[in-house]
Symmetry: C2
DNA sequence: CGGATGCTTGAAGCTGCTCAAGTGAAGTGG
DNA sequence: CCACTTCACTTGAGCAGCTTCAAGCATCCG
């Protein structure tokens, strides 16, 4: 076995490990692509270097050119409505995908702003569309990935209560950040209160008060962006509207 | 030209006219499919006869087998959360598509109940997935169609106010029912108040009061399910949160 | 150090909810 | 055909949750 064979195996291994933490792995790796197909897919994906907090990945009205997978960091997506009010669409942490918002009108309908210094994979839409036309399993995985991203939106329709929404949000961030590699029930929020409150559809004041209430009742501990879920069980009951 | 040539032309014409009012036409007709491809697509689509009000098209947990296009009638989709509360996902009128909710987990995540006696086109998912793998433009159109269906969900995140949400809802129903063939600004709601209120995230009592308020201020006229938009301009301002 | 930003806290007011009763239309059965 | 039930909707009164406006802290950063 020559050195090149080893190299190739190694590189494949690195790729798989790198993508192992990434939602997009459902797109490329575990669906049983042939090695040649995997290689073709890999050549399409650009790895974009660290992007500074405060910069924009894309803005409302930008042409739809690619979908993005977050390798590290966090990105918020939001739009400004006719009345000038900010509307948070969501947050995207390590291992998650964004950009599908532009599939229909072919233009992005929100701004994607980097919250924490982030590294991304960029998958040009044309390329992936062309390749999925050839590989049916890839086509289906694109659909599924898109479906999963959109399904997130139903989550907050459930919470009528402010405190219920907060509980849902905290538990959601916990599982997602844990999946991204942090300690369970103990995490740093990547966004400021204002972003959270507009995401939850409440005022920052109410958010502050309700977080204080959760802390006083011993369900969580909060210090600025640091959150520790003291009693995830009870928090989960609140999230489900029990009691 | 023999009789069969005439027949074929006629049938194609009928098909095109029938699909001309249908959202799915973006899927099959106007994207420039070859006649042979169009024929293949047509053989996949089952036209399902009139379904009685109160019956179910699919239920939560059902396997994902097909997507549906409404030819006439109206269907509501809703789910029941852990606490037993009903959560309306949306309404689907003539010319619209439903069923994409099941793309990701491969099972439907809501119930689809017929509100008015409805006729549907049934497009088996396996078939369309197989065909879109061959025809790239079809693949893209499936994505776009899906994106458009999901984009509807952002609409109500905007309305913070109850009356704003109602205004958005009324204007939305107006345009959609108008597209389906009714007189503009004058329509019959296909659903009961309870469905509307849970769709808007308010109580039926509040809905009743706010509809009364809109009528008193001369913006609309309501009588049970019949709605007439007296002043669509002002209604639109309210929908946008102006004033 | 001083300003800016992000967060918290307080008081008053309004929106929408809950509970409860009442109306009106449509269908049911004797 | 008419009382009776049912269902959909409306109306009222009181209350809770959330918002608004305003001020006060704390932390970060030049």
């Amino acid at each position: 076995m020559g050195p090149y064979a080893d190299m190739s195996t190694l590189e494949l291994g690195v790729m798989r490990r790198a993508c192992g933490f990434c939602s997009l792995n459902e797109l490329c790796w575990p669906i049983g692509l042939e090695p040649t197909e995997l290689e073709r897919l890999q050549t399409m994906v650009d790895k974009t270097g660290p992007l500074a907090a405060g910069s924009y990945l894309f803005r409302t009205g930008d042409a739809f050119t690619a979908i993005y997978a977050v390798r590290s960091g966090c990105i918020k997506s939001y739009s400004i409505d006719a009345g000038g009010h900010k509307l948070m669409h969501g947050f995207h942490v390590s291992g998650e995908v964004l950009g599908f918002d532009a599939v229909y009108p072919d233009r992005h309908r929100c701004n994607a702003m980097i919250l924490e210094c982030s590294s991304l994979c960029v998958i040009p839409y044309r390329d992936i569309a062309r390749l999925s036309a050839e590989i049916q399993s890839l086509h289906e995985n694109v659909l599924r990935l898109m479906g999963r991203e959109f399904s997130r939106q139903h989550m907050f329709a459930e919470g009528s209560n402010g405190i219920q929404r907060i509980a849902i949000f905290l538990l959601d961030m916990d599982t997602r950040l844990h999946r991204a590699g942090t300690v369970e029930h103990d995490f740093m929020l990547p966004m400021i209160r204002d972003d959270i409150s507009s995401y939850l559809g409440i005022t920052p004041e109410t958010l502050s008060r309700l977080l204080g209430k959760l802390q006083k009742t011993g369900l969580i501990e909060v210090d600025r962006r640091h959150v520790f879920l003291t009693d995830p069980m009870r928090l989960n009951q609140i999230a489900q509207g029990i009691n």
